[in-house]
Amino acid sequence: MTAVRLSPASAAAPALGVVLALVPLFAPHNITVLNLGFFTFLYVAQGLAWNILGGFAGYVSFGYAAFFGLGAYTTALLWLHGWAPVLTFPLAGLCAAAFSLVVGVPTLRLIGPYFSIATIGVGEAMRILMLNLDNITGGASGLNLPTVVPSKGWFYLAALVVAAVAYVTAVWVRGSRFGLGLAALRMDPDAAETLGVRTALFKNVAHVISAFLVGVCGGLFAMYFQYLHPDNVFSFTESISLVLIALIGGIGTIWGPILGAAVFFAVQDYLQTSYPTFHLLVYGVLLIVILLFEPRGLAGLAARIAGRRRVPAPIAVTPAAPGTVAPPSTPGGAS
């Protein structure tokens, strides 16, 4: 396992983390900032997690809401049975991870777009099922959770911790042989297989890791929101938010999801009070523009401005500069 190289970028993150952690000390009563921080960190964590499968391995899933929701309901149900919510988080993650295995083993055998479509189906099916499993989830009545919760400052820090864990995980994955294997199978699965990369195992491990993290985020969300309804946590909007965050920020990078989540929430927060769904229009346009001109998203844009040129993005549309690894010229698999 190669060591994680310490570059300016990777030293910046812990520094940023420390600065952010101090915010509640200086502004303990500024609920707006604390709320915004909570959601941003939660989505940074989810974006980083999604990216492990979506960016590193190249399997774009539109169904991560299933993991978020499962994590949320696991925490909720255990909490209602008397568990301390924080203790439920690992279980929330495990539940989501287990489900990801059940779903992932058959669907990850499909290539790219078919996997994506299948995940839409799975995500939506889970939502409708949860709406109807009244005995377990309360169905369409939703679940009312205990009302005694820690302060907003606590949630802010908890979300920051989860985001930090996700960051460290993502960095570790990328720098490891496992991450190298994921990159290989993203670029050419058959070649990777012949080189000894156990693609099926690697894909599923990536799926499980990212699902675990997203499940924990779901659990934390349940504790914050104190009311769960399948339409809120299993929604397609939740799933596409993760895709958008990673894509706009820069798919396959570490800072991409971080930037993406920050921009996503800044834009949403700004537009929310006047046009509640307008931000989706902005993202749709951004998505098209990014795919056409800068597939590495905002992170790629930043890198370009800083003058660095590296391996092209997983979904690059322009041919690579000479001397770098080129993406396959035909869609992976059948023509």
Binding site: T32, N35, F225, Y227, T277
Partner: protein, 411 residues
């Protein structure tokens, strides 16, 4: 030099219009303190049209108070500012926006959103910040079973809607208009709202097995597009009465497909739906002779209701449904609570609301909240009649009550 000139021009270009606007806008009298009331409504999305009606009702009530010189609280008059945000019918956003209203905009009081599912998401916030919250858009009893102290609702519970529908059916069976035992097909939206309704229907059937027999009991997904398989089952069940608990878009879709499939029942009720203007426009004569249980109807002849209906028609050039009346009364109730408390303190206003008795145009004549925060008020039952009219058919003691046409005429 040129830059400085440009900068001056820019500042001038910004400042002058602002000054003009400030001079021209009729603001409140200088130095009049203000009360901020916030509300998060679904102005777009699945519940968009109903959310819009609520905005109308709230605005009318607040405009009234401001035009009369402000709200009298203690020894001081206050200008009331209403801040309305749109949650796009999304629960997560709804709750976040309510919290934003409290933490960012520092509203002192909250008016509720529309629809049970959105109210249930919103209601976590008021107790946390000790902000009184009065809503007229969520009727499910579940809203008031969570032990919150700052939540008040002016909509009578849906369970009662189902209950009085069954009571009305009992009177009709007794009068010989419908057969006994009455076979019922009941379908309900898969939400707390629908569950309340079907619970009442099944409870009544269990209590009176000689009168009612439920031959079909099915739930459907909220905001569905194709109810034909469900209606197929309704047809196959050969019931005499068809009961459905649905919100406005589903009501229109379902009843259109009902008519197209050539279904007929002697008694058809869509819960509180039927007289809604949008429904009558979309369904035409197909929406005639439906039975609906309402929290208010413009067919009520008491002076307050008539006054409100006329005023609404003047301002908005349309006939009001219960949405506008309920939201109007909800806002009035909150304002009365603030006024009665004599202070802008959250807990004091909350207590004032808990003891409020306000004369109102709602059936029963007054607004009074139960210990769980939900109003105890009766319904009226109406039947839609041709020509976009309704007639009140129950309770019998109202002077405007008329005879009902049952069984429904065949199309």
């Amino acid at each position: 030099m040129r830059i400085r000139g440009l900068a001056r021009a820019a500042v001038g270009a910004l400042v002058v219009p602002v000054l003009l606007v400030a001079l021209v806008t009729p603001g409140r009298p200088a130095a009049m303190p203000e009360i901020k009331i916030g509300t998060v409504l679904p102005l777009t999305g699945a519940f968009g049209s109903s959310g819009g009606y609520f905005k109308q009702g709230y605005t009318m009530a607040i405009d009234d108070v401001n035009k009369a010189g402000g709200l009298q609280v203690g020894g001081q008059k206050y200008h009331v500012t209403l801040i309305i945000l749109d949650d796009g019918s999304d629960g997560t956003r709804s709750r976040s926006l309510v919290e934003k209203l409290v933490t960012d905009q520092h509203v002192g009081f909250l008016l509720g959103g529309y629809d049970t599912s959105l109210v249930e998401a919103q209601e976590v916030v008021p107790d946390q910040y000790k902000i009184p919250y009065v809503e007229g858009g969520g009727a499910a009893s579940g809203i008031f079973k969570r032990g919150y102290k700052y939540i008040f609702g002016t909509l009578a519970t849906i369970y009662n809607l189902g209950k009085i529908t069954m009571e009305f059916l009992t009177t009709q069976i007794a009068a010989g208009h419908l057969p006994k035992p009455l076979t019922i097909a009941v379908v309900w939206e898969n939400t707390d709202h629908g569950k309340d309704y079907v619970d009442a229907v099944t409870d009544a059937a269990v209590q009176h097995p000689d009168l009612f027999r439920i031959v079909l009991n099915q739930s459907f997904q909220l905001n569905g597009s194709d109810f034909s398989p469900l209606l197929q089952q309704v047809k196959a069940s050969n019931a005499v009465a068809f009961l459905s608990d649905a919100h406005l878009p589903d009501f229109i879709t379902m009843h259109r497909q009902y008519l197209q499939a050539g279904l007929y029942h002697q008694f058809v009720s869509y819960g509180a739906r039927g007289p809604d203007q949008k429904g009558r426009q979309a369904l035409g004569p197909g929406a005639d002779y439906l039975i609906a249980g309402l929290w208010w109807t413009p067919a009520l002849k008491d002076p307050a209701s008539q006054l409100f209906a006329e005023r609404y028609t003047r301002e908005y050039k349309a006939v009001p449904d219960w949405f506008q009346a309920l939201s109007f009364e909800t806002a009035r109730a909150l304002l009365a609570g603030i006024s009665n408390a004599g202070a802008l303190d959250g807990p004091k206003v909350r207590d004032a609301l808990a003891h409020l008795t306000l004369r109102s145009m709602l059936p029963g004549g007054e607004i009074k909240f139960g210990s769980d925060g939900q109003i105890k008020a009766p319904y009226v039952i109406v039947q839609t009649t041709p020509g976009n009219t309704v007639r009140i058919v129950w309770p019998a003691h109202l002077p405007e009550t008329r005879a009902v046409t049952l069984p429904m005429p065949r199309p």
